[in-house]
């Protein structure tokens, strides 16, 4: 009698329940270089082909394919009934997503800029996040809310924030912050198959970033960090847009004799604490880099996890770098100061390693 979650007459592709817990890779699948945006597009297309319950709703998602052109072509394949252009009503479409998810569908809600999730907060925080718990486990909200983060596009204070810490704070939500085309595709497919609400942050500047992605089917489980570069002197923990910054910094550090390990957490919730702790036990130093505001931010949580888990192994205090605690300014001269850069990461890492 599990009516509202019974999707009749649209069948679930493989029964009830989360399907994203185990990574699935297609062996020997050819690998191409595609952009982050194309990877997102492919993940959506594959999941929509696979599962008739999946649909997309958002502002300018159909013919326009979003201002970032990430969804281009989807309406052509799946039609306007599954790729739905909505009014400019972020709270409304988030709410519609929650209700549709509770009654047998798997909506992917598109919130154009991460700054606009502020308008969806009641639906995300008081509804989506709590419905499974408040109902004693009877109702599910298998919804994905895709949105963006990241500054330095000269978009000023209301189109540049990275607000993933807001939703990471709320029990009941999962939060993905992918940093490569490969991770974006695998994590988005898992997010769509997950029975929980997942907020999925995409770095606007990364949409054109290219990377290797297998042609075949694969998923990446939520809650597993990825070792992006092996090192022995310091662990750089990074999220989303800051992973590329950390990798560039690691390369510079290598040239001056510092071996930096780069860990990409990939999801803030669930957080893969063990991988972080194990890495810092090995390197004895940690620097956490994230584009959200530093104050009360994601970096604080991760630094605390490391301090708790690897305290006796630390040779230096755990340091963190986030966005400056200011509204993102418009003027390039000002804006560029507000986010961590490879140079600023290198400078702090050198200090931590005693090389000034």
């Amino acid at each position: 009698m599990s009516m509202p979650n019974t999707p009749s007459p649209l069948p679930s592709p493989s029964g009830k329940g989360s399907e994203s817990q185990q990574p699935q890779h297609t062996l020997n699948s050819p690998v191409r270089e595609i952009t982050f945006g194309q990877a997102i597009n492919e993940a959506l297309a594959e999941e929509m082909r696979r599962d008739p319950r999946v649909f997309i709703i958002g502002e300018d998602v159909a013919e326009a394919g979003t201002p970032f052109k990430v969804l281009s072509g989807l309406v052509k394949e799946f039609g306007p009934k599954r790729v739905i252009d909505s009014p400019i009503s972020e709270a409304g479409i988030a709410g519609i997503g929650v209700g549709a998810a509770m009654t047998g569908m798997r909506p992917v809600v598109d919130i154009m800029f991460g700054d606009f999730i502020t308008l969806t907060m009641d639906q995300l925080v008081n509804q989506a996040a709590k419905i499974h718990y408040m109902s004693g486990g009877k109702l599910n909200v298998p919804m994905v809310l895709r949105t963006t983060l990241g500054a330095t596009r000269r978009s000023a204070a209301q189109h540049s924030q990275s607000l993933h810490a807001w939703v990471s704070h709320i029990p009941g939500l999962k939060v993905a912050v992918p940093a490569t085309p490969y991770d974006a595709k695998g994590l988005l497919k898992s997010a769509i198959r997950d029975d929980n609400p997942v907020v999925f942050f995409e770095d606007k500047l990364m949409y054109q970033l290219k990377g290797p992605v297998p042609e075949g089917e694969y998923t990446i489980p939520l809650g597993v960090a990825d070792l992006k570069r092996v090192g022995s002197d310091i662990t750089l923990v990074a999220t989303s847009s800051m992973v590329q910054v950390a990798l560039a910094a690691a390369e510079s550090l290598h040239s001056i004799g510092i071996s930096a390990e780069v860990i990409d957490i990939r999801t803030t919730v669930p957080l893969d604490k063990q991988t972080l702790i194990d890495s810092v036990k090995k390197t004895s130093r940690a620097l956490v880099i994230d584009e959200g505001y530093e104050r009360y931010g994601v970096t604080a949580e991760i630094a605390s996890v490391i301090a708790d888990g690897a305290f006796y192994y630390l040779d230096a205090p755990v340091k963190r770098m986030g966005a400056m605690d200011v509204p993102v300014p418009f003027s390039p001269v000002l804006e560029d100061q507000t986010v961590p850069t490879p140079e600023s990461v290198v400078a702090l890492a050198k200090t931590l390693c005693g090389k000034t």
Partner: protein
């Protein structure tokens, strides 16, 4: 659940209500009334944690509306939601258990009065954010349309929710996409402690009309009027004619919540007495039943006896039921 869909024919016209069915309506309304009176007693006796928002005085709305629905139709409810829950078919024993925070409750004691949900009767949950369920109901209607069933979704909300933007965002989309959702505004005259005239500009139904939504404003105290109006709107929605907005003018006999005893600063005793004596939905129905010789005093007394016994047994069940295991606190955060 699929069965009820198959066995019940698609509604093609408003079904006439047989006289004996009004007696069933009376039973349901009385069950809500006695349930709520018992809730008040549990509060006064300090046996219920927290507060509750009593539905007494508004019973004709929940019953008139929900009796026009099938079990597989959806409702979303409000902080004043016990009436909706009972009218949609929930059992009072598990409801009391939920209100007392017991494991046998509909939500294992995790939701409480303001969050009761019962998916088996299509109740997607009460909601403690005023207007907060407008998205859920509209989304359920979107899901219905996408899945191609002939279910409908009903969104209950009060006059207080008329101040919330979400309602207007979702009504706009429901109308654009002709979704099978019926917005039922229970106008009980008060946004908590403030008369709705002080908070609500213009006409209530004009709001929905502006979106091209079919509207009606009716006497919410007469269950026969509510039910007849609702049947028409449900039929429209099932037919694919899109959303509707039904304003039911009603009155909250008690305070905003059980602890709201001294109400003189926002409404007069005389006003309350006037509604209770002249506009009590149960009395209006029994008067009509008696006038039409559909029931006599003895039958009414028998019904009251039966419901009263059911309520007493349900309260005893809930009081005796165990609390959840402490370890449950971290369960059900994620599916």
């Amino acid at each position: 659940m699929g069965q009820s869909k198959k066995t019940k024919p698609k509604a093609t016209s408003v079904a006439p209500v047989h006289d004996e069915r009004w007696l069933h309506f009376y039973r349901q309304m009385l069950k809500i009334r006695l349930f709520e009176e018992e809730v008040n007693q549990l509060y006064l006796g300090a046996k219920m944690p927290g507060l509750a928002h009593l539905y007494i005085g508004e019973e004709a709305v929940a019953v008139g509306v929900c009796e026009a629905l099938r079990q597989d139709d959806y409702i979303t409810s409000t902080h004043r939601g016990h009436g909706h829950c009972i009218a949609k078919g929930a059992s009072v024993d598990r409801m009391f258990a939920e209100l007392l925070g017991k494991e046998a409750g509909y939500c294992r004691g995790k939701g409480g009065s303001m969050h009761i949900a019962d998916q088996d009767t299509g109740n997607l949950g009460a909601n403690a954010i005023v207007g907060g369920s407008a998205g859920i109901a509209t989304g359920a209607a979107m899901s219905i349309k996408m899945r191609g069933t002939d279910q409908v979704a009903v969104c209950f909300f009060g006059d207080g929710a008329l101040g919330q933007g979400l309602l207007y965002e979702t009504m706009n989309m429901a109308s654009l996409w002709k979704l099978p959702v019926i917005y039922v505004c229970e106008n009980n005259q008060y946004n908590e402690y403030t008369h709705f005239h002080e908070t609500t500009a213009g006409e209530v139904t004009a709001r929905a009309k502006a979106f091209g939504i079919h509207t009606a404003s009716i006497d919410g105290q007469d269950v026969r009027i509510v039910h007849t109006a609702m049947q028409k709107l449900v039929e429209r929605a099932r037919r694919g004619d899109g959303p509707a907005f039904l304003e039911c003018n009603t009155y909250r006999f008690h305070g905003h919540h059980v602890g709201d005893i001294d109400r003189a600063y926002y409404r007069s005793k005389r006003e309350e007495e006037d509604w209770k004596t002249r506009r009590d939905p149960l009395k209006l129905l029994t008067d009509w039943l008696k006038r039409n010789k559909l029931v006599d005093a003895a039958s009414l007394a028998k019904i009251e006896d039966e419901i009263s016994t059911e309520i007493k047994a349900a309260v005893t069940f809930a009081l005796d039921a165990p609390y959840p295991e402490p370890g449950e606190v971290a369960q059900h955060v994620y599916a």
